[in-house]
Symmetry: C2
């Protein structure tokens, strides 16, 4: 029993259409390594589940339920936005983690998240050296923002890219139909924080002859050049599609969405970047517009997930467990691109110290010279990631997504106040 | 030649994911009736194409291209928002229509649209009696708002209902994952104008245990009751989903989206109903929120179209041509529901005079007593309409949607100023 340790798995940060596919990969692979890995305990709501000893016993879930995670969006065990402070600043939390790990014989720590979560995982991976508790911490990458370094892409991104490319294509066909007497400009706002990867996906529709203008966070917003570009498109094509990243900002750093408007009660204005851009066009050029803010719809859209993305999410969960079985600590499995067309990749490994707290932005040569489109290099990069469809099963017109039983592991310790 | 007449077909009003499936039904069926129907001329941008003699010769399109319309969203020939005045008020336009019809030997008029378009089609159908030109005008129903009378449902609605139900389900799973430390309320704004049919589709997720609050245009907005309902859901479930119809309004008729806010230049505020509702919740209950405005994404979402809806759209286009071949005028083929579970329907016929300018709202017994949900009767009504998936083909990660050649018919007449 001493050698066989249980595993802790948790989901962190914003969830995605495929983070549960990684969970599926972790749990199914751990079940195959029953000789060295005991049970997989999932943290209810990420690292908070570990701190509060709120653990879910995944062994209570059937093989069928775990398999169904592969086609279920969101975080099946709950996620959290909670960043551990440094060991020096908050030793109490780390001591508590060790207390919980000891109480439940946990020797493997799998953390499934983005940049902030990689930092948490890295800190936990240092516990062996710093505090003498033997733990192997492996990070499973996940972020729709696609902004983790080293790995070629991040699970979650391929599916949101596919969703945005498909939605932008469909809405562009719509505005093209309406442009003669009605709407001439359609604006869609997309996620991505400080990185323009998701916005870039909207640029894939240009291949089909659609006039699309992209506003990247990486390019300082130039209102005059932007309006001239939209005007030119409407004159040439009769309509124009605009994809605006939530992180798009003026040279002084002010986001487009921050207009400083107030309602009667003094509350800040309510809209996002899309209505701001749409109204800017209306004021300057007089065109009728429509705008959409996809928000959660884009990152939850399992119904149109990229098959490549689902596969990679699963494989990285699987690889994380295999790295643990091989005795590795403080690492993250990665996607290594082998070729663009046809798209081929293999699984690699990165040291967590090189991953934590590094953001990867769009390279300048992925963005066209005028700053409003994507280059051929970017198109090649993106196209591989949206290959294939991986439809969920449907019953009665709706997708069949699983909700787990999430049975709690009996607590052994005193309560811990966060 | 005298007996064999050409047909005019046009798309009108807001386009949908399946209006081209109706076009496909019209054109394929007309091609089968070559003995009585000559060519199908499509109006470029709806009725405007007829007035300006801007006709598209669909006989220049291959059978494959026409078949591909079935899985292509938007309006392949362009649509318009243009309502003919009454015969008394604008005789000039009707005389021009007759002039164009005569010049191109057009004896059949197929108009594909919603309530306003049914009115246009009705007026054209009166030309035989009123102005002595023999024309058979048949309306092909289409509207995502589902607000046409007599027909059990309208093509376009089933697909948008499916999109909204799926998206609401997926986003609800997302917010449920995040609720512990982050977002607790998700608000999605949907279309539908003065009718709550699309909003009702969001209510289908309640079957899966999701706490959802719907704001219908048919129910006057009661802020106190609404906030109490959201508060109750968050206390019980930890999170809450809100579906708000763009037509939702206060008792005095003011829409939720009209907040009277102004920016520095005095422009009206930019947001829709979703950010207004989200901020209202934040101010009263303090919950972190996310909001989405689906806008065109919902009505263009051919990638997740309802198979039932696609089939009905095609069949109604086909039925319109068959009615014309039988000599009918001033009618609209309809969907007649035969049973709920399993969902069965047949094709019927309505007189256009009973359809034009009548809006069908949600019956009160489709809305729950408290006004925030749907009843079992409504669930049964909606469930039939979202049955089945009808995926488009994909190439290189994106759907393959057709863009027709749209070859113009040579003009024979002098220019006409609109």
């Amino acid at each position: 029993m001493a050698k066989k340790k249980n595993a802790f798995y948790a989901q962190s940060g914003g969830v995605t259409a495929v983070i549960n596919a990684s969970a599926c990969g972790v749990i199914e692979t751990a079940r195959k390594h029953g000789d060295v890995i005991g049970k997989v305990y999932a943290g209810r709501n990420g690292i908070i589940g570990a701190l509060t000893e709120d653990l879910i016993d995944t062994s209570k879930e059937s093989d069928e339920a775990i398999a169904a995670l592969r086609s279920t969006p969101s975080g099946a065990f709950g996620s959290c936005r909670y960043k551990l402070k440094s060991l020096e600043a908050n030793k109490r939390e780390y001591e508590r983690l060790i207390e919980v790990f000891k109480a439940h014989n946990i020797g493997y720590f799998f953390y499934n998240g983005g940049g902030d979560s990689a930092d948490t995982c890295f800190k936990v991976s240092q516990l062996s050296e710093a505090m003498g508790y033997p733990i192997q911490a492996i990070h499973v990458p996940k972020t729709v923002d696609n902004d983790l370094p080293i790995t070629d892409c991040c699970p979650g991104f391929g599916s949101v890219a596919k969703y945005i490319a498909v939605s932008t294509l469909e809405a562009s066909f719509d505005v093209r139909s309406m442009a003669k007497t009605s709407t001439k400009v359609f604006v869609i706002e997309v996620m991505g924080r400080h990185a323009g990867w998701i916005a870039a996906a909207g640029g894939l529709v240009a291949e089909q002859g659609i006039p699309v203008v992209i506003l990247f966070p990486e390019i300082e917003f130039d209102q005059t050049a932007f309006l001239a570009k939209v005007d030119d498109n409407v004159k040439k094509h009769g309509y124009c599609t605009v994809v605006v990243s939530e992180g798009c900002h003026y040279p002084d750093g002010k986001f487009l969405a921050e207009q400083g408007t107030r309602d009667a009660f003094g509350h800040a204005q309510l809209g996002g970047a899309a209505p701001v851009v749409a109204n800017m066009i209306k004021d300057a050029l007089g065109h009728k517009f429509h705008w959409a803010v996809a928000d959660y719809l884009q990152r939850a859209a399992r119904h149109i997930a990229s098959k490549t993305d689902v596969k990679q999410a699963y494989e990285l969960g699987k690889a994380a467990v295999e790295l643990a079985v091989k005795g590795r600590n403080s690492v993250m499995p990665t996607i290594v691109r082998v070729s663009d067309e046809p798209y081929k990749y293999k699984i690699g490994v990165a040291d967590l110290k090189d991953v934590a707290n590094v953001e990867k932005f769009m390279p300048r040569d992925f963005i066209s010279k005028d700053g409003f489109g994507i280059t051929e290099k970017c198109r090649k990069y993106l196209t591989g990631l949206i290959q294939g469809e991986d439809y969920p099963k449907y019953a009665n017109g709706l997708p069949v997504y699983v909700t787990l039983k999430n049975v709690a592991v009996p607590k052994k310790l005193a309560e811990f106040k966060l």
